[in-house]
Amino acid sequence: VKDRFKKTFDQLQRAFKATFKEIFGGGDAKLKLTDPHHLLTTGIEIMAQPPGKRFRSMTLLSGGERSLTAIALLFAVLKLQPVPFVILDEAESALDPANVDRFARYIQKLKAQTQFIVITHRKETMVYADNLYGVTMQDSGISKVLAVDLKKAQTTKG
């Protein structure tokens, strides 16, 4: 069990470094065991260094940097243990437009193997959608869902 934990930890550490560099376009990241001599009880420390910056306490990261780092870690977990579908509810709310685009383009790479369902308010995510559902609630307090035909919407834009 200890060996499997260490083996998985090392794999996750490598995957996280890779997804972080790809999603940030540079920089570095690592996972550290708080107590490497006690694998059954050790905690896990996350360290992130956005491009051009130094490693410093995670608390000093900006709101957008924290979100993007957490997303990179999630995608690393998915690399190790692929799941059939992933559902994200407004995961990009703290990202600036350029980073929303990086996030959405990363999903593009994974969506052939994984169904992605994303709730979003951000145009930069919507433009990559293959399917679009609109949820509305007239004054009646009752929700309705409409499927939006993207091909039709795109042809009217001309």
Partner: protein, 165 residues
């Protein structure tokens, strides 16, 4: 394994029977604040066996039953049906299509169904174990929870490695 479709009625703001078909690739769900988008996600969490009302922004499980609006009286039950395309047999049962149903009445009566046959919560959990989409998995990230991994203590983060191992 893919999500094929879902149907919900009486679940939170979805008073009327609503069907959503899932397709391949990236599906975006959009709409105004308070329209019901997160409620759809919670319906999926709920039908997959979520036992904690807190994870559904509720104080008690009955909160997920439609409790009325300006023009409509409260309903008596919530029901969600989720259908999987299992043609690659990713899930163990020898079906190419698997349907999971959960129903809750206001008096507390609670039912689970697997392919329309009544079952126990344990059967749902057994079905989803090792699928990566059961309880404790990372396949559903709720609103505001992206950064949860940073706010948790180093000890609590063990489960990222333990569930993946």
């Amino acid at each position: 394994m893919k999500l094929k479709s879902m149907q919900l009625v009486g679940f939170k703001s979805f008073a009327e029977k609503t069907t959503i078909d899932f397709q391949n690739g990236l599906t975006a769900i959009v709409g105004p604040n308070g329209s019901g988008k997160s409620n759809v996600i919670e319906a999926i969490r709920w039908v997959l066996g979520e036992q904690s009302a807190k994870h559904l922004r509720s104080t008690k499980m009955a909160d997920v039953i439609f409790s009325g609006s300006k023009n409509r009286r409260a309903l008596n039950r919530a029901e969600v049906i989720l259908t999987f395309d299992n043609s690659d047999h990713y899930l163990k049962p020898d079906y190419t299509e698997i349907t999971v149903t959960r129903k809750l009445f206001r008096n507390g009566d609670s039912y689970y169904y697997l392919n329309q046959r009544e079952c126990r919560l344990k059967d749902i959990n057994d079905l989803l174990m090792d699928s990566g989409i059961g309880q404790g998995s990372f396949s559903i990230i709720s609103q505001g929870n992206v950064e949860a991994i940073f706010n948790s203590k180093p000890q609590d983060r063990r489960n990222i490695v333990e569930t993946t191992a």
